[in-house]
């Protein structure tokens, strides 16, 4: 602690604190441009000059630590004079185009010019102008306005981990740009819009659309991943104009991903569903809510009476709000429908059968993740799946954590990865067993794990796996293990989960799930599961089918809730298409029409999209985060929970008792607090269930699919700016050169992929060294990617290439 004076008042702060930090803490205004609390310090703009006693010249507050007895004046004539002069220099080259600049009204330069600038310019010479760059569909540049604070450059190197923007030239000739005419492709690139203090980098989708001062700001929660980033939704006359981050240091700090920032464009998609629609003679007819709801209930009841409770399958979006999830399962179970699920990407449920599934949380807080020593990620590509988890991982890596990846293909990481295991054929289970085996043999002094040995009799550990085992088993280190989206969507998902559990138990690590959607935990808590009710309580009777079995053998009727598009969202899209088009009745609760829904659905009920409804998401840490609606839903669309309330009431339930969505949440909270926590059968027992898998052969070619970053849900898929980015992949089968030559396939060929009796599709080939052998990597949920079945073993053939 040191004591010092600012503006003749006594303060104290820990040693090494910067003057500007103390000033911010004490709400003393110091102008600044280059300083940002989350970035490194360069002290290049000199706007923050303050007078310090005994120093011959004013000093930059952002780079000067406080010292014992220091006397600082932030508004003395000397300091003000310095600040005014710097301002005058900055304005020499800055254009006077505030009226057409999107930053106008929220510009740091504008604000500070008002306070520190002169009203008349003494500079009559010509101003500098810089050519604009096209850096992609998300960020608009106007480089003449740049004041060279280099915040954007530092963000690229320090946070995004990609040096995309840089400064070239010096002095008057300094320019910020991409090194080559390139686009900026980072998944968090949009944050430079907030960082740039002037209008040099602004949002392209918001370009010239509105003014900061006329926007209404509503706090909300981002709806695309399990991080639950805090955001503000800005609306103008009931229309969402933009989404910006809301600071929450324990979750998203000051950042959000581009997906959370720009997905709102999808809200204005032309295929918004505006009125309840019923299909009559293959024509969509507009109707009113009463008729539509009654028709839905009657149709479902007729099918249930005829075919029984298992004849209807309900797929609920993992991004539906907690209130929607809870009311949906309450309504469905009340009707006698037991097949309810939200785990759309999953295809293997073998370890859940006969026992409850664990709540899919992170297992630790995000701030703790940053301080873990060893982190094992299984089947996970956080950069695209949960960009802000990736940011925490990068921070952990910078602090020296060993990060180990077990993935079906090699990815580009923006941090140091200690080991990356990419088994051939996407067989993630084998390296995990190898690691387990190595751990067991390293630590044979742990007798209570002896039961594991028989399960590993066919496993031989590679040196790499032994090395990983050593990092994991170091003892008194903080270890975190995560099962990513690809592990959960894997054909061996259950086995992966059990082995990960065993590893976690063995290394005293936390085990976490990086789940799909924004509210997987919430869906679990509210009982959107075929065999678990609210609070995760196991149902003794009335168990239903899981998401995969619901479409594997077609059912007579389906309920799709929350914009679920099974043709994109399910693990087996081929089976999903078939099942839905063959079924007699499909009701879709969705903000959107369009796509295949118009073909298979019989009723479409318009519900509000995320900014239009209040609700709660539970993020991966288990935090209940409620938010309000920012704008009203378009047309006759209603918030999902209200529709479900009406349905429950129509079925004679007590639905109409809720007058506000908070009551739904509180009812669930009460249930959750009063049910016993879920107890799983012992690991040994559950391992028995996967025994046959452990001895499965490793050979053969396998398809591995992955949901690309901007194809994860119906809203993102409709956001034009995101679809236009370079991150939107083409429909290609990517193969290792060796595998390709084994089948005499070349880059320009087309390939036929087939699984007997299930699907067949032809698609162009891309040869890529990052794909391990025996793996065919295909992006799912793409337009035109419809014929792809689920992951796993396939046969491939060279398609005779007519165009070649």
């Amino acid at each position: 602690m040191v004591n010092f004076e600012i503006n003749d008042k006594q303060y104290s702060a820990p040693d090494g604190t910067l003057i500007i930090q103390v000033a911010d803490r004490e709400h003393i205004a110091i102008p600044r441009f280059c300083y940002h609390p989350k970035l490194s310090i360069v002290a290049s703009c000199r706007m923050c000059l303050v007078e310090v006693a005994k120093s011959p010249k004013p000093l930059p507050a952002c780079a000067t630590p406080v010292a014992e007895g220091m006397k600082i004046w932030t508004h003395s004539p000397c300091a003000c004079d310095a600040q005014k002069s710097v301002m005058e220099f900055l304005l020499i080259n800055h254009p006077l185009d505030c009226p057409i600049c999107d930053q106008g009204g929220e510009c740091e330069l504008q604000d500070q010019a008002l306070e520190y600038g002169k009203d008349v310019s003494r500079f009559t010479e010509g101003k500098r102008s810089v050519k604009d760059l096209d850096i992609g569909p998300l960020i608009k540049t106007d480089m003449t306005r740049c004041i060279h604070c280099t915040r954007c450059v530092r963000f690229g190197t320090e946070i995004a981990g990609m040096r995309e923007l840089g400064a070239t030239g010096r002095g008057e000739h300094m320019e910020i740009g991409t090194f080559l005419e390139q686009t900026v492709d980072s998944e968090v690139s949009g944050n430079v819009i907030d960082l740039c203090p002037v209008g040099a980098l602004t949002s392209k989708p918001f370009h010239h659309k509105g003014r900061a001062w006329e926007l209404q700001q509503v706090a909300s929660i981002a709806p695309h991943d399990c991080v639950g980033s805090h955001v503000y939704v800005h609306t103008l006359r009931g229309e969402v104009m933009r989404v910006v981050p809301r600071q929450e240091d324990s979750i998203n700090e000051v950042w959000i991903s581009d997906r959370d920032r720009f997905s709102y464009s999808g809200l204005k998609s032309p295929d918004r569903l505006l009125k309840p629609l019923i299909k009559k003679n293959n024509e969509w007819v507009e109707t009113d809510w009463d008729l539509a709801l009654q028709f839905t209930i009657k149709s479902l009841q007729a099918i249930l009476e005829k075919e029984g409770g298992r004849s209807v399958g309900a797929l609920v979006s993992p991004s539906a709000t907690l209130e929607e999830c809870y009311l949906a399962q309450k309504w469905l179970r009340g009707m006698g429908i037991s097949s309810i699920d939200h785990r759309l990407h999953r295809m293997d449920f073998s370890c859940d059968s006969g026992g409850p599934s664990p709540c899919p949380t992170f297992g630790l807080a995000l701030t703790e993740l940053e301080n873990a020593d060893t982190i094992l990620l299984i089947g996970s590509h956080p950069r695209t799946e949960q960009p802000l988890i990736n940011h925490r991982l990068a921070k952990a890596a910078r602090k020296g954590a060993q990060i180990i990846m077990v993935n079906p293909i090699q990815y580009d990481f923006n941090f140091k990865v200690a080991a990356e295991l990419t088994p051939s054929g996407g067989q993630l289970l084998h390296p995990l067993l190898g690691i387990m085996n190595a751990l067991l043999s390293q630590k044979n002094e742990r007798p209570h794990f002896a039961w594991l040995t028989p399960f590993l009799k066919n496993t031989v550990s590679t040196p790499e796996e032994k090395q990983v085992a050593e990092w994991l088993g170091r003892g008194n280190k903080k270890v975190a293990i995560f099962l990513g989206l690809q592990a959960q969507a894997h054909w061996h998902a259950s086995a992966l989960q059990l082995v990960a559990e065993a590893l976690a138990l063995f290394c005293q690590a936390s085990l976490g799930y990086l789940t799909e959607g924004a509210n997987s935990v919430g869906a679990w808590v509210s009982g959107v599961l075929p065999d678990q009710g609210p609070g995760g309580i196991s149902l003794s009777e009335g168990k239903g089918l899981n998401a995969h079995s619901m479409v594997k053998t077609p059912l007579p009727a389906y309920v799709l809730f929350g914009g679920v598009e099974p043709e994109f969202d399910l693990a087996n899209t081929v089976a999903a298409r078939r099942a839905l088009s063959e079924s007699a009745f499909v009701v879709a609760f969705s903000p959107f029409r369009g796509g295949m829904c118009e073909q298979y659905a019989k009723v479409m009920l318009p519900i509000a999209a995320y900014t239009e409804t209040e609700g709660t998401f539970i993020n991966g840490e288990g935090r209940w985060q409620s938010f309000n609606a920012a704008n009203p839903p378009p047309g006759e669309a209603r918030p999902g929970w209200e529709v479900l309330r009406a349905l429950t009431a129509l079925c004679g339930g007590p639905g109409s008792l809720y007058s506000r969505s908070e009551e739904v949440r509180d009812e669930l909270k009460h249930i959750v607090q009063n049910v016993p926590s879920v107890t799983l059968p012992s690991l040994e027992q559950r391992f028995r269930r996967i025994e046959p898998i452990l001895s499965e052969s490793k050979e053969g070619l396998r398809v591995v699919t992955e949901w690309p970053i901007y194809r994860v849900d119906s809203l993102v898929r409709r956001s034009k700016p995101l679809q236009d980015t370079a991150a939107s992949p083409l429909f290609r089968a990517r193969l290792n050169p060796k595998t390709a030559s084994l089948y005499s396939i070349k880059g320009e060929n087309k390939m036929r992929i087939r699984r007997e009796g299930e699907f067949e599709c032809i698609l162009p080939v891309a040869v890529d060294k990052k794909i391990p052998e025996n793996t065919v990597h295909i992006a799912s949920a793409l337009e035109g990617g419809g014929n792809m079945g689920q992951q796993g073993a396939v046969q491939v053939f060279l398609e005779s290439n007519k165009d070649a």
């Binding site: 505030c98 009226p99 057409i100 106008g104 370009h207 010239h208 509105g210 003014r211 001062w213 006329e214």
Partner: protein, 163 residues
């Protein structure tokens, strides 16, 4: 006694009446300023605040750059603007509505405009026959601007040295 005499003389001479007629009498001989509206009109100051118009540059380009400062400054909140990028990449309004029923003709919008796009012309003769006509749309405002551009320019020129 003397007072009584004074009063008496005043009253028989109709003094009070004459005094009362003094103003009338004076005005009887003064030059008349009655304006025979509508045959005649009073002269207007170049600062007269009448019907609004949106101006164009001599080359026909719209002046307004959709900065929304007029919308922000308007104390009656009667201006509504939507903006977007136009086909040539410039910032333009896609909607510019003024509700003349709300407008208090303060002229703040004109003061706020950085490019002299929105102006209050000296037009004071206009009426609405149907509901909704009180909303001046961008098209109407531009048409008024086109029609009275010479007059508008002259008024601004006359007032220039005071601004």
């Amino acid at each position: 006694m003397l007072n009584w005499l004074k009063q008496f003389l005043k009253s028989i001479a109709f003094w009070e009446l004459l005094k009362g007629m003094r103003v009338t009498g004076r005005h009887f001989f003064v030059k008349k300023i009655t304006i025979q509206y509508p045959e005649e009109e009073t002269p207007k100051s170049p600062r007269f605040k009448g019907l609004h118009a949106l101006r164009k540059y001599p080359n026909g380009e719209e002046r307004c750059i959709a900065c929304k400062l007029c919308e922000a400054v308007c104390p009656a909140v009667c201006i509504t603007i939507d903006s977007d990028e136009s086909s040539d990449g410039t910032r333009r309004t896609t909607r510019y509505d003024i509700d003349l029923f709300k407008c208090i003709y303060c002229g703040f919008c004109e003061e706020a405009c950085p490019v002299d796009a929105i102006v209050l012309t000296s037009q004071d003769k206009y009426c609405f026959e149907n509901q909704g006509e009180n909303i001046m749309t961008k098209e109407k405002l531009l048409a008024i601007g086109d029609q009275f551009e010479q007059e508008i320019a002259k008024d601004r020129e006359a007032d220039r040295s005071y601004r």
